[in-house]
Amino acid sequence: MTDAFSLLQAAADTAGAYRDFPLIGSRAAIWIAAEIHLMFAAFVLGVPMFAVVAEAIGIFGKDQRYDRLSKEFTRLLLIAYSATAIWGAVLTFLLATLYPRFWAYLTSIFGASMWVYVSIFFFESFTLYLYYYGWDRWKYGRAKLVHWGLGILLNVWGTIVMFIADGWLTYMMTPPRDITPQTQVASIKFWEAFMNHTWMPINIHRLIGNIVFGGAIVGAYASYRFLASRSEEERAHYDWMGYVGNFIAISALIVLPFAGYWLGREIYQYDQSMGITMMGGFMSWLWVIQAFLIAVLFLAGNYYLWVGMGRIPGAERFRPYTKWLLAVLVVGAIVWGTPHTMIADSRELVAMGGSHHPFLGVLGVMSAKNTAVNLMILATFLSFLMYRRANIRPVVPWAQTGTRIQGAMFIIAAAIVLFYGIRGYFVEAIVRIGYSVYQVGAVLSCIVFVTVIDVLMARGAQSLGTIQWGKMPARSQYALFILAVTFTWLMGLMGFARSGIRQHWHVWQVMPDTSQYAATPALGYASIMISTCVLIFLALVGFIFWLGGLAEKSTFVPAVSTVEAPHVGH
């Protein structure tokens, strides 16, 4: 009887609501289209941010290398832009044809914003064309500033476009609580639906994530060009470009977890059960995978820096410290990856002797994880600092005091992180959550103040030798590839987490998914989908970059003298 009812219900519910896609099914089709569109979108939104910064460094620092670097970034952007639009169109058509009822529902609420979206997309496209094709025409004086203004405008358009699309997807996750399945769509207020609980946290998280992603893809592009280089000059240029891409990716990655905490907190505040599903429910193993991926990112990023120090005269004095930094990173990654609360069956619970493992359960709590990740961030920052300092000797009279103050700041930040990490075991959960703010605050303060001191100390510093750009072993370039693949995979995984916590709802607790694909798949299936998307994306990126290379010569700096590109931040 139940089966008969289910059959009837499915037939009635799905009448006209769903269509299927040949071979792979409609869920997989939408998954691939959405994921690849998002990957391209992240790239074309992230790259303009640091392209415009690089152009500014070129203008105000009067360094042509940055201007050319910025132009090369933008050339990548131009050819990736059409791919973004194509996959966006694919996604829209698939949604309209495979999920017509759900699409009708979304357009009923957000239709007007979709028109605005398209209009701004139009402006964004033409701003990009002006920005790129006007590069050599508006090269000097006031015209150059206007050109730079176009770059800023490009970022403004891109950010608005992303904010609009975020309103649609976050509505699916966290619709206002007064909207129920019975709510008439005409009575839903646009702004209330649009500016929902997770809208701004997702906006910020994606803004930072796009920078990370753009930096990683640019790094991979540069590493490919480095490996394929036929001259020393070209190799030097792409070595430098790869370093800049990695610097951008890792710098933004350091900030990304804080935006992630905010998003997670908002999800919990909106609906505890959604948060618990995400962190302790059927998705709990996802975070172990995430910890593994982030460990790969930290290790690969630091490895690239440590290998890179081999081409910097004077860096030998810092080499003994790298093994300790490696130890901090490895131990931190192990603690971060330790699971705590898992859905376990009765046999597994008996085997563990309780709901948590007697030893590992202690490391799996947030007190230990927050401590671990904050120490990993401090260790990575220290790697950057050593890299910056490698070939200079500060000559300011207060250099020794400054270095001691910097050391003290590291020690104090680490002590605060450890203190609140340990104290977190002895207080209630609600108090413990607040401690993460103190830990993050200590680390961020350390990063900001130590950087300021370092910049001031580097003024007029004695050079210990020129960085030998291009003198980089090939293995370091493969680290950049691993970084790009891992960032892309991580993006797919976290997209699955964000989307998957809705479970069998198109719109959480408002519009159920009654299609045959309503169940949220396990991580194994998700990982195959993610790998497929990453593979398609990287293949397409490789193809369009190759096409771009056919059309135009690269913009590497020709040999005037030994390439003396400064460190980023000098």
Binding site: D13, Q272, T341, H504, L535
Partner: protein, 264 residues
Amino acid sequence: MWAINLRIVGVVLGTLALYTLIANKIPQMQSEVPRALALGANVTPEQLVSAGEQLYQGAGGCTACHGLGTRAPNLVTDEKGQGPIGARCGKRESGKDCKAYIYESLTSPGAFVVTGYEPIMPDVSRTLSPQQLWALVAFLESLGGTVDVSAADIPAVSQPTPGGSPGSAGPGIGGGTKDAMEIIRAAGCIACHKVGAEGGAIGPDFSRIGARLSAAQIREGILAPDARIARGYEKFKGIMPKTFGDQLTAAQLESLVQFLASRK
């Protein structure tokens, strides 16, 4: 150059393979959709408990907090010497029996927060149907107590309106077509009813329905399916959706009624 390309492809594929392998080696958990229940007038306590247990252990998501964890009170086994939930539920609130206490805890979770726990319980009625809710109550009662949930507690089966609003915003079933056979197919009637060579045998055969029922009776059968049950199909009372009055346009309804009435 080919060697470099091959090495890059190897690094990319190797990295992807490693991540995919790890994700497939860990325990695989799929989030299932709570199964729709059709609990008729003759439902037994055993059937209710069984359905409730499936929800509790699976798609209901209860064990994420109530298993043996520390987020929420233990329901299945002893909690602070008071026994499982079925044994202690009747004593929790004076004047409230076990059934009322559990039901209210599920639907107004903020009402009875057990000391020592945070108010994190969601309103379960937002995700589960009334039938599923009562099955869950029966299962929880069975854990050390007596099941007194009966068919009388359970409201008649009503179809959820998926995204009720979009349904009402749409142009009717099947994109608003007035072709009766298209409506029958799009509305899913043939999942249970036979029309000519098409359809199933769960409900009455529509092939010659016009010979048995008038147009008015057919219209009533579509809009209020439980008002009159065809002989021999009494046990399926409550199964037919009652939402066609909302889903069909007036023109579609009349087209369908006239088409069926003409089949003699």
